[in-house]
Structure formats: structure tokens, C-alpha cells
């Protein structure tokens, strides 16, 4: 099976290139001005051909909470968003803290074949914060990193062991940076807005304290710490300093944290309730600067489906988290339109860097010999992100029903078209 993508404007992290792409089976066979015969021809005139997006922080709620989303609907949401590789977090029920569950998750995704699912295993057994998991076994089974996301590891000693042991297995640790002893049952960013609304806040310092601790432990152990969903300006300063000092640290940011600020909460809309919470305009500005100057390595979604019943509650009762996979492209394209980053930066942040961090040697670029994971994006395409387009079982996005600009019109996974706007096809 061969596919030719004609008249492609290829966007890689390091270059933009006009060419035709020949795909043979699952591999990119050639990139040239030639127009070889192919079984299938896609004309990409006027579109941008990106390497398939890699989202290294999603929640698919499978196993155990499949009423919110499962590996299949998660995969469908992913390809509808141009994402061909996803790393689901371990906070499922049961927790992904052993190789059996890891293998099950991968097998389920493979069977449907829309995306590559690369699980993040739990750091501690049952995400209980105490004994670390069998990281060797789990890495062999397919775990690409370890995280107790949502339940940050509070013990410094456990975190130290986790960094040491994961490094031994050539893996790394992702931490949700939050010093929970400073939470006080907070539901939003602590600051002027929380005072105004009378909602208990979470100070940004709880994130900054945890990042400080983790970078020091990375210094001690030489292990790699990846900071999940950075949200505060000072967090970024700390990370920048740690990088300068040669500490093995990387970080990611979510589209909602470079798009929205806490003023959205004025209506007590629970679709804006997430953790870390939306912060101030200057934090949003700092996230944009971090994306621009390279101190942020990765854009990820933290796709966190919750059932409508769970979000249709009083603000302090609703769970944290919003959908992200299908709004990743339009929100990131906003940064390009606003001159914050270039298309090439977008490819670096959503594909090249995650591939590098996750150690995926044949992904992250449109390159001969690489896996044919491709998102054909129309940056000017306007549409309403409504329930008919939404592939998740959940609807917890503040953007649902809103007009968006830019989408992946065709998503190709390992050489096969898996999404053709608006339908998942493979």
C-alpha cells in the first residue's frame, strides 16, 4: 500500500519544505519533487503537513472509569485532534502500577489501531506514595515514563528512589508539582480573583516548592525529572535556572494555561476548573514567553474527561480537568497567529520534543525512514466545535459550542488515514 501526499508544505521543527511525500506501508519512503505512482493520492495544497502530534499527558480513564472515556474514544479524540501518539496517565482504576495492566492498555489501543498508546506507569504502588513500582518490568511492557499525576509524590525519599531507579531503567519521572500540604482544599488559583469570588485558592507557591524540591533531587540523583503542566511564571524561572545548572529537567505546558486566565472563573463555570488552576494574565504571558524562548519543551493537553453530571455541580464540588485533545491544534495555532511561535516551533513543541523526551527514534519529524504519522492541518479552517464533532464521551470543555480556527483535516497513523474531518475512518 502506497500513499502520495502531493503539494505538501511540510512543517518540521527545523525546516519548512515544499515537496511530495511518498508513504509505503507504514514508513515515509521518500520526500521529493517527484510524483511517483501510488495507490492513494492526497492533495495537500494550501494545507500544512505536520508530523503526527505526540501528547505525552492524557487521561483515558481506562481501565475502570470508562463512562468518562475509554481507550477507544480517547484514541478517536486524539486522531480528530491530529494526535497520533498518546501517553495516558496511571490514575486509572485499578492504577496502572504493574506490567499486566500496561500490556492490556497497549493491546486494547493496538486492536483499534488509531494511535500508538504509550502508557505512563505509576511511580508508587496504587499511587499510594510509598513503595515504588516494578519500573523495570513495566518499562519492558511498554511504559515510557512514571508518574503519580494527580497524587504528587510528597515524600522526598520516595521521589529520590524513583528518580534513581527510573534512570537505571533508562526512563524518567513526571511529577504533578504540587505541595499538597499547602492546598487547604483550594479550588482555584489563590489571589485577587479567589478573594473576589470567595473560593479557596491554591497558591502558585505550592507548584514552585515542589519544582524546587524535584530539581534538587534530580541534581542529587542525576535522574530526569519532567515537570507536568507548568502554570506559574516563577515555576518557569526555576526550571530555566535548573537547566542552566545542568540539571536533567524538562517541562510541559497545556493549551489552557497559555490561553485562559483566572478571570474566566467569574461565572463559576466548572469547565474552567482544572489543576493546576488557571492563573493570572501575567502567568499566561510567561507561558507564552517560555514557549517562545524554548524554556518550555512540550505542549501537552492533560486531556481530562469528566462526565456531565460530575461537572454540573457547585464549583467546589466539581472535579478538576477539561478535555484537550480536539482543541490542541486550534489553541496552539492561535499562538502562531499572534506571532508568539512559528509553525516550526509548533512542530517542535507538539512532536519533535516529545519524541525526543520519550525516546521515540522514528517519530517527531516528517523524514524518510520515519513512521508515517502525519497531521494535515488547515490553519484557516473555521468550524464550531460542537457535540457532533466531539469524539470524547465527556463534554467538559469550555470551548464546546464555540467557533474555532484550525484543525487537522486528515490524520494519518502508520501510513493509514485514520481521520478525515469530521470522521474517524480507520
Amino acid at each position: 500500500m502506497t500513499t502520495l501526499i502531493k503539494n505538501a508544505t511540510i512543517i518540521n521543527a527545523t525546516q519548512t519544505l515544499k515537496a511530495n511525500i511518498l508513504i509505503e506501508n507504514e514508513i515515509i519512503k521518500s520526500i521529493s519533487s517527484d510524483e511517483p505512482k501510488a495507490d492513494k493520492i492526497i492533495d495537500a495544497s494550501g494545507k500544512l503537513v505536520f508530523p503526527g502530534l505526540i501528547d505525552m499527558h492524557v487521561h483515558f480513564r481506562d481501565p475502570g472509569l470508562e463512562y468518562k472515556d475509554d481507550i477507544i474514544t480517547g484514541s478517536m479524540s486524539a486522531v480528530a485532534g491530529g494526535v497520533t501518539t498518546c501517553c495516558p496517565m496511571a490514575n486509572t482504576n485499578p492504577v496502572n502500577d504493574n506490567a499486566v495492566i500496561t500490556r492490556d492498555m497497549i493491546a486494547k489501543a493496538k486492536k483499534r489501531g488509531l494511535i500508538d498508546l504509550l502508557p505512563i506507569g505509576a511511580i508508587t504502588k496504587g499511587m499510594g506514595g510509598k513503595g515504588i513500582t516494578e519500573m523495570g518490568d513495566m518499562s519492558e511492557a511498554g511504559c515510557v515514563a512514571f508518574s503519580d499525576d494527580g497524587l504528587p509524590v510528597s515524600s522526598s525519599d520516595v521521589m529520590r528512589s524513583a528518580l534513581e531507579y527510573s534512570a537505571f531503567h533508562k526512563s524518567f519521572i513526571i511529577n504533578h508539582s504540587q505541595d499538597c500540604s499547602l492546598c487547604r482544599g483550594g479550588h482555584m488559583n489563590e489571589g485577587k480573583m479567589s478573594m473576589l469570588l470567595g473560593i479557596k485558592g491554591m497558591p502558585r507557591e505550592q507548584e514552585e516548592i515542589m519544582i524546587s524540591r524535584d530539581m534538587l533531587l534530580a541534581k542529587l540523583t542525576g535522574g530526569h525529572i519532567h515537570v507536568a503542566h507548568v502554570s506559574s511564571a516563577y515555576s518557569l524561572k526555576l526550571i530555566e535556572q535548573a537547566k542552566k545548572d545542568g540539571i536533567n529537567i524538562t517541562c510541559e505546558v497545556c493549551p489552557h494555561h497559555f490561553t485562559f486566565d483566572e478571570s474566566e472563573l467569574i461565572s463559576y463555570d466548572t469547565n474552567f476548573k482544572m489543576s493546576p488552576p488557571l492563573r493570572t494574565k501575567s502567568d499566561v504571558e510567561a507561558m507564552r514567553n517560555g514557549l517562545k524562548n524554548g524554556s518550555i519543551d512540550v505542549i501537552c493537553t492533560d486531556h481530562a474527561p469528566h462526565h456531565t453530571d460530575e461537572k454540573f455541580l457547585e464549583f467546589d464540588k466539581a472535579p478538576f480537568g477539561i478535555l484537550g485533545l480536539q482543541t490542541l491544534v486550534p489553541l496552539t495555532l492561535n499562538l502562531v497567529r499572534q506571532g508568539v511561535i512559528s509553525y516550526n516551533d509548533m512542530a517542535r513543541l507538539t512532536s519533535k520534543n516529545p519524541a525526543k523526551i520519550l525516546n521515540l527514534p522514528n517519530k517527531g519529524e516528517i523524514k524518510e525512514g520515519f513512521l508515517a504519522d502525519i497531521a494535515i492541518i488547515d490553519p484557516d479552517f473555521e468550524y464550531v466545535y460542537d457535540e457532533s464533532l466531539n469524539k470524547s464521551k465527556s463534554k467538559n470543555s469550555p470551548l464546546l459550542g464555540k467557533k474555532l480556527k484550525g484543525a487537522s483535516l486528515i490524520t494519518i497513523k502508520s501510513g493509514r488515514v485514520v481521520f478525515d474531518f469530521p470522521n474517524v475512518v480507520a
Binding site: R184, G185, E190, G191, K192, M193, S194, M195, L196, L197, G198, I199, S267, Y268, D309, F312, L313, E314, F315, D316, K317
Partner: protein, 310 residues
């Protein structure tokens, strides 16, 4: 009456004229309440539900009396007997009561934003009787009536609110309404309850003397001694009263005609000493309670009638 909404959720929604109309209507009702037969059956046949998801005997009683004096059938629903304890959601509870063809909900709930949430999702009238730390608009109106009656006008007044500002819905509703009226509002309280209080645009006082000096009225907030554990609060009741409590001696630096308000119930000897609370020349606490019924009658009548105007 210039107010046109079917709900009263926030004093932010009130213009100067709205506030004066509520106060004027309440003054009428205050006269009625001194009559031997205290009835204006304008809400005859209307069902008013006191939907209290958080305990409050006095606010509930005040609303209940207000509803009854207007001829309404007032029903009390409180969370200790409710199905929310059995996992039913707030909106389900409201919808179920409404299915019995009720007309007005008086909502008291422990979550900020919940009164607005209910109002958005029901065709009934909703009056916010205190939502979490957010607002308590009828309390602000009754405080304003009390201050107006004592001072004769709102011109050139300075009001200081003292205590746990963060957790106080009384503070928020008063701040918004008083700023609309042009009253100068000042705030003072323990630092852990004052973080980011500058957002309200009020002057922040540094100590009790400064807070007391120059005030025409002082609103002492209730310290929630029963507040949920796990929260870092002030070190002790003794020390709270020393630095943040109001006593006769503290009032030596006050204006001669200063009045003291408190939303009740008082923690005697903590935020307010009995020598202040029980001195009728300075304490307006019982006037507040009396005014509460009249204000709630005015609000009930207004929002119910608005429902049919739009």
C-alpha cells in the same frame, strides 16, 4: 421599584436607585410590622421554599416570617433532612421541590456561586440567603437600612468591616452595595483572612485603633469557631480578642456617634465584648434583626412581581 430581575443573587446587580427602592419599601413594611395585624397578603397563594443546605436558624426564621407576613406559604427545607445527604445533586433537589409547583427559593448553601447556579437552572425566583463565602445580599440591605436610620443619609459615611474578610459573604455584599452608594469602606482583620483583600478597592487598616478611629459604623464579623478543621486559623480565641476584638476601651478613639453592627450570632468576648454588644447607644444589633424581616419582605415582593413583568 427600578429592580427588574426575578432573582436577587448579588448586590453587584443593584444600582443606587434599586437600593433606595428596597430601603423605602422596607420602611413601609417596618411600619406594618408594628401593627397588631401584620399582614400584606400580596403573596397569597405563593409557595416560598426556604432551601437551606447550611444551618442558620435566624436567617431562616427571618425569611419565614417575611414570607408569612406577605401571605405566602413558606416551607422549610433543610439539608439535615434532605436527600443531598443521600447523594442527590443540588439541581435534582431543586427540580424535585419545584415539581411540587413552588414559586420562590430562598437558597442558603455552603458553596460560593451556588445561588447563581440554582438561579440559572430554575424558572423560579431565587433569593440568595448566603452562598459559601460569596454573598448575602439581604444582610447587606438590612445593614444599610440600619445605618441609614441611624445616620439619616449615606453622605460622607465611613464604614469599617472587621474580621474574617475572606470567609465573609456579609463583607462582600456590603462592600459592593456601599461602594455603589458612595460610602467609604475600610477593612481590617487577621492577615490570613486578608490576603488579596485590596481587590475590593477598600482602604485596608493596619490595626484596631486605626480601624475604629473615624468610622461612622463598624461591622464586626462573626468568627466561625466551628469552621472545618484542616485550616490554619488564628492561634487562639484569647489572642484574637486581644488584636481583633472590639471592647468599650477600644471605642475610646471612636467617633461619638459610632454604631456597631454584627450579623449574629455573636461570640461574646471574642469579636465583640458584651459591654459593647449590650449597650443600646452603640449596638445596633437588634435593629438589624428587626430590619431584616422588613428588608426580606421588600425583596420577596419585588422579585416575585418581577417574574411576571418580563
Amino acid at each position: 421599584m427600578t429592580y427588574t430581575k426575578k432573582d436577587l443573587i448579588s448586590t453587584k446587580d443593584l444600582s443606587k436607585d434599586d437600593i433606595y427602592s428596597f430601603l423605602n419599601l422596607a420602611k413601609e413594611y417596618k411600619k406594618l410590622n408594628l401593627e397588631p395585624v401584620k399582614k400584606d397578603p400580596i403573596l397569597k397563594g405563593v409557595t416560598v421554599v426556604n432551601a437551606f443546605f447550611e444551618n442558620s436558624t435566624r436567617t431562616r426564621t427571618s425569611f419565614e416570617i417575611a414570607g408569612k407576613r406577605l401571605g405566602a406559604d413558606t416551607i422549610n427545607f433543610s439539608s439535615s433532612t434532605s436527600s443531598t445527604n443521600k447523594g442527590e445533586t443540588l439541581i435534582d433537589t431543586i427540580n424535585n421541590i419545584e415539581a411540587m409547583k413552588t414559586d420562590v427559593f430562598i437558597v442558603r448553601h455552603y458553596s460560593s456561586g451556588s445561588a447563581q447556579f440554582v438561579a440559572k437552572n430554575t424558572p423560579s425566583c431565587v433569593i440568595n440567603a448566603g452562598d459559601g463565602c460569596n454573598e448575602h445580599p439581604t444582610q447587606a440591605l438590612l445593614d444599610l437600612l440600619t445605618i441609614f436610620e441611624s445616620k439619616g443619609s449615606f453622605e460622607n459615611l465611613t464604614v469599617t468591616i472587621i474580621g474574617d474578610i475572606f470567609h465573609s459573604r456579609v463583607a462582600r455584599s456590603n462592600i459592593y452595595a456601599m461602594q455603589t452608594l458612595g460610602i467609604k469602606v475600610r477593612l481590617f482583620g487577621p492577615p490570613m483572612f486578608m490576603q488579596n483583600a485590596e481587590i475590593f478597592g477598600c482602604e485596608i487598616c493596619r490595626d484596631m485603633d486605626e480601624a475604629v478611629r473615624g468610622s461612622d459604623a463598624i461591622i464586626m464579623l462573626r468568627i466561625q469557631l466551628e469552621r472545618s478543621d484542616g485550616e490554619v486559623a488564628f492561634p487562639s480565641v484569647r489572642e484574637y480578642s486581644k488584636y481583633f476584638g472590639l471592647t468599650k476601651r477600644r471605642l475610646e478613639v471612636a467617633k461619638d456617634n459610632v454604631i456597631i453592627l454584627h450579623p449574629g450570632p455573636i461570640n461574646r468576648g471574642v469579636e465583640l465584648n458584651s459591654d459593647v454588644a449590650d449597650d443600646p447607644r452603640i449596638s445596633s444589633i437588634l435593629d438589624q434583626v428587626e430590619n431584616g424581616v422588613a428588608i426580606r419582605m421588600a425583596v420577596l415582593k419585588t422579585v416575585y412581581q418581577n417574574k411576571f413583568k418580563a
